[in-house]
Symmetry: C2
Subunit: 237 residues, 2 copies
């Protein structure tokens, strides 16, 4: 506070994306607000200059990774001192640094993901579970999850001590028909919608119809009480 640092230490740093994330999330709407709640499969594709298989040698011994990424789709909107976390119903404001909200200085995000596969044929592609990030998210760093330093079981979780309660998800007949032979897509839809994708300020609106682009389809759905009803599923244009 006194004893302010030399400006050199507070000078900006230029960060180069080392990988891009590939996921079924085509728009911000619908992405769970906390990582690890949905087991969506994503790919981390190392970009040119960072695609040397030597860089990931030994990574296969770790079950989980940290991804440090940029909330790139929010960067243009800048940051705020206070945000309204969904976990507080969207009405109570907290400091942005007391949240994991994307509208933060530097727009940095952090997700622990499960490492499923490492493919080094023709570049480097990691397959991960639980990275609930927009398709195309720039990854700035990948680190092993080191349980003895990172897993603090007795940490106090402030206003988010437990995961949110998932909603039930059902399909109207037309939607169910569109899922014939697509078990994986059905699982993805159920997982994503059970996390209640509505903006919290609309959570009280009954019967409103929502649309969402997910993987290769467009969804239409409604939410009443604790239940999501999928009305339609159409191939995306």
């Amino acid at each position: 506070m006194t004893d302010l640092p030399p400006t050199s230490e507070a000078a900006p740093w230029q960060m180069q994306p080392i990988a891009l994330l590939r996921s079924p999330y085509r728009e911000k709407f619908g992405i769970p607000r906390q990582p690890g709640l949905v087991d969506v499969t994503s790919h981390v594709d190392m970009v040119a200059g960072y695609d040397d298989p030597a860089m990931v040698e030994g990574l296969e011994g770790f079950s989980h990774l940290w991804l440090t990424f940029v909330f790139h789709a929010c960067a243009e909107q800048g940051w705020r001192s206070r945000v309204r976390p969904p976990r507080l119903g969207g009405n109570t404001r907290v400091g942005v640094l007391a949240s994991r909200a994307p509208f933060r200085p530097n727009h940095l995000g952090l997700s622990a993901v499960q490492l499923v596969d490492i493919d080094t044929r023709g570049g480097v592609r990691l397959t991960v579970l639980g990275a609930d990030l927009l398709d195309g998210t720039p990854i700035l760093d990948i680190k092993p999850y080191v349980p003895y330093a990172d897993a603090i079981a007795d940490a106090a979780g402030g206003f988010a001590p437990t995961p949110p309660t998932p909603l039930e998800v059902g399909f109207l007949p037309a939607a169910a028909a569109a899922l014939q032979g697509r078990a994986e897509l059905e699982m993805l839809i159920v997982q994503v919608l059970s996390q209640d994708p509505r903006p919290t300020y609309q959570a009280g609106e009954v019967g409103r119809e929502y649309g969402m682009a997910l993987a290769d389809v467009d969804l239409r759905f409604r939410i009443h009480g604790g239940r999501v009803e999928v009305i339609g599923i159409a191939p995306r244009a």
Copy 2:
């Protein structure tokens, strides 16, 4: 791998330090290689433009924080595809992304720290435990530790499944005398030296004397077997 991203997503991002860390670590030598092993008290001083108390409202409900920082003292030396982790004796190389080494692309670091105090009189200063970082480290982000998403108790820890075994630390009479009435400094020295600060390629060298600047003193010490012997403690010039 195929299907390469538009270059815009892989364009560089400019990151502005929002805070600077103040710690007793005056040089890289001696800093524990994994965060959280030593309970050193540090201060996170928000820099001008990010020192609005509103930004940390609600943070007091969380016991632990994530600090995302830059290994600024290593940035000039660039990065390597493979590194030799101390945990593997310094002889075996692994991919840099399978390590937490500082010589990584973007030089980003990540530490879980315990939040001890928030002082918003005349700026914002957080007091934290376990941030084993060089004095002056630029902090790019501060996030609450959310146990249900971040604490993965059953994660597999690769080549670093457990914390390293600490060394015993003893003081020769002259060093012990210099610690009269400085219990806190003594505790700091014991914690830091017990983590074996030697570069691993020298771990076999018996009787070699090392020097280290820590807090306001210069230390001299030797290591034989599992024991560190502090030879001298002098006020720093």
